[in-house]
Symmetry: C2
Subunit: 416 residues, 2 copies
């Protein structure tokens, strides 16, 4: 027989302190495994001066984001009868956007799934591929937020060195021959974050061959690929030809992080699982944002490349300005490789007597903020801590020169 | 000593068939637990006629979504210097949007976290609260997609009846006194999906009291709350006053599902975990969409209520039209409660001789599609299978009358 609410009240009121054993509330293991930011992304490490110049993030410059063109595309999209851009759509993404990306990438449209930006693609790939507790091979040094994403699967990591030629595929092969059996490998093949390097075509093919032989999935994180401003593009064909690679792309660095729009190029065998995961989260990416970007890139077929060319020219200039300014502000202090694309410089301190941690603090005191190299190792055996990650994306030439001058003063003042 | 790529090639080529035990690729348990849609949402069940009238989803009518106002807001937002709407923002959401929602809901802005729509809020709540394998109390009948979302936590379910007065809180109390210890309870307090009912204030208070006493978290899913078109709003204050309730809100039914924008009202104790989860997925909701909606609702302070009033008037008319048309097309066939809000009618077939499954098939053949009641039970003891869930959101009065006429013909043709 059902109790009435009055009965329950009586029950509780009669003995409000009666002992009931409540549910033993503990944090679910999933969230308990998610650590607070340490190092990279830890705001508590920073106390920037009010006039600080920040070379911190891979942030595209507002001047090369097509704001007015996006506004115009929005007006066109929202004037369509029945406003389909305001309605539900499919987990896979809008067909016209998937088709445009597929044509650009040279893959079948069915393999494109739209995401809320690059990191979202990584997160879906990890959840679709990595069993809890699995071993995952990762870049060393590595984009630190990927390691934080891996906490979703409580994965163990196997660091693989990244050098001037990108991931050390031969070293990975040694590890595999030695018995390591990762379920996935994470790398940034183009304009590595933080190490600047690009993985050559032969190594891409070899990496795929190893993945197929040893049964792991390559998660190729490629946010900067379209921002090559010198040298020749290295093909992604080896990745697209294999069902052992998930390539993660995004409009973040080209049209703006605030859109939260990206995609994955997915082997068919993962498609249903990623869609199933998506349908347990937010269902699909904003129909409106997808429709705006689809209208932007298809409404004027040359526009996206014009946006890219403008951005590439800007970042090439800024990379050159920053590299030159560093050399003149602190002659001989750094080994500097000229980047061929992307948004980061990864100079190496030459003088072993300089403590890079102290330098970062002193640089902050002179008004320049950057990511210390020590935030990036995924294991031992890298000299990442001797490097600085300097972003030149969203500061103009004058500010980059001023930042270099401040850094130069901090270096000059280091004890040695 | 590092191998070169040539060495690896030689190695593989020399013995291409050599036995290596690859990683034993299996689907991660997380994704293996995600079932394909069955019943609700299973497109394979449907073979609609080309001229079918679909009363399937809780879809807002395009005529009451503020498309042109959103376009104007976008133009204003994207003309701001530096285009902040195209840049990264914080996991919590844009301050101006959080503040506006907080003021409207009467809670502190810190408790508002922006999501990609209501379902995303449910997904985050489940992951933050429910340990794998936990017991979760749920509405019976229930919004079926919530059960699919629960698969993320492989939870067991405890069905609690929902009647004309919403969730049967007294029955829940019995289960708890009997020893059931759910970690969470899921319910739709306003304009229940599918059962139309509204949970009275006293039951809301009692539910919260039980949650606090027995240590579970109420996940209150409230997408339809703003669409009340008759009767008095029931307060959400009991939910907001407790740290044992996560209330899930959304702009989906008011400004458009395609935005993918919603929020959760979160007790402080869950805040860091939800932010940590978010930072492992897509980081934050689209800055652009947030900025557009913030501009829409704050740029013209009366606009949102005007949008709501237009929508409420439309849905009130449509609910009335559909209820009346059903009664005249099939006199006496249904018990019909007039809804006070939301987008669904949940009529009950009176004649026990009518097989509702066969009726749904015959209705489809006459050109009307709806969700059969049998898709909604979360356990035994409900007569949901005798009901039909009819959405009146996105069909005009003429089409609703035609749909009712077709359904009437299907009913008339049933054997009895």
């Amino acid at each position: 027989m059902n109790q009435t609410l009055t009965d329950i009240d009586a029950d509780l009121d009669a003995d409000p302190t009666s002992e009931v054993a409540p549910h033993p509330r503990t944090r679910p293991a999933l969230v308990a495994a998610l650590s607070a930011p340490q190092g990279f992304g830890d705001q508590t490490l920073r106390s920037p001066r009010p006039d600080a110049i920040e070379l911190l993030g891979g942030i595209p410059d507002p001047s090369v984001l097509p704001a007015s063109e996006l506004a115009e595309a929005t007006t066109r999209v929202l004037s369509r009868p029945g406003s389909p851009a305001l309605q539900y759509s499919r987990a896979e993404g809008l067909p016209q956007l998937r088709e445009w990306i597929a044509a650009r990438e040279g893959v079948a449209p069915e393999r494109i799934l739209i995401t809320n930006g690059g990191f979202h693609g990584l997160s879906l790939a990890v959840q679709a591929v990595v069993e809890r507790g699995d071993l995952v091979a990762v870049d060393n040094p590595v984009f630190p937020l990927f390691l934080r994403g891996l906490q979703l699967s409580a994965a163990r990591t196997l660091p693989i060195p990244v050098g001037p030629q990108g991931l050390d595929v031969a070293r990975l092969a040694e590890e595999l021959r030695g018995g390591a059996r990762p379920s996935a490998l994470y790398t940034v093949p183009d304009f590595h974050n933080p190490a600047q390097s690009v993985l050559p075509e032969a190594e891409r093919r070899e990496l795929v061959r190893l993945a197929e032989r040893y049964g792991f999935v390559v998660i190729a994180d490629n946010p900067y690929r379209e921002l090559r401003f010198s040298g020749e593009q290295v093909t992604t064909a080896p990745f697209y030809e294999s069902d052992h690679v998930i390539e993660v792309g995004t409009f973040t660095k080209t049209l703006g992080p605030g859109l939260r729009l990206g995609w994955v190029v997915l082997p068919e065998r993962f498609r249903d699982d990623v869609i199933a995961l998506r349908s347990r989260a937010d269902g699909h990416s904003s129909t409106l944002v997808q429709a705006i970007v689809a209208e932007l890139v298809t409404g004027d077929p040359g526009l996206f490349d014009r946006v890219l060319n403008r951005a590439r020219a800007l970042y090439r200039d800024r990379a050159t300005v920053l590299a030159n300014a560093l050399e003149s502000a602190a002659p001989g202090a750094f080994d500097i490789e000229d980047p061929e694309g992307g948004l980061f410089l990864w100079p190496r301190l030459r003088d072993e007597r300089i403590d890079p941690e102290r330098l970062a603090e002193d640089a902050s005191a002179t008004g320049v903020e950057y990511q210390r190299g020590s935030f990036f190792p995924s294991g031992p055996g890298t000299d990442a801590d001797r490097h600085l990650r300097l972003s030149y994306g969203d500061n103009d030439a004058d500010r980059l020169r001023e930042a270099a001058a401040r850094l130069g003063r901090a270096i000059a003042a280091q004890p040695r």
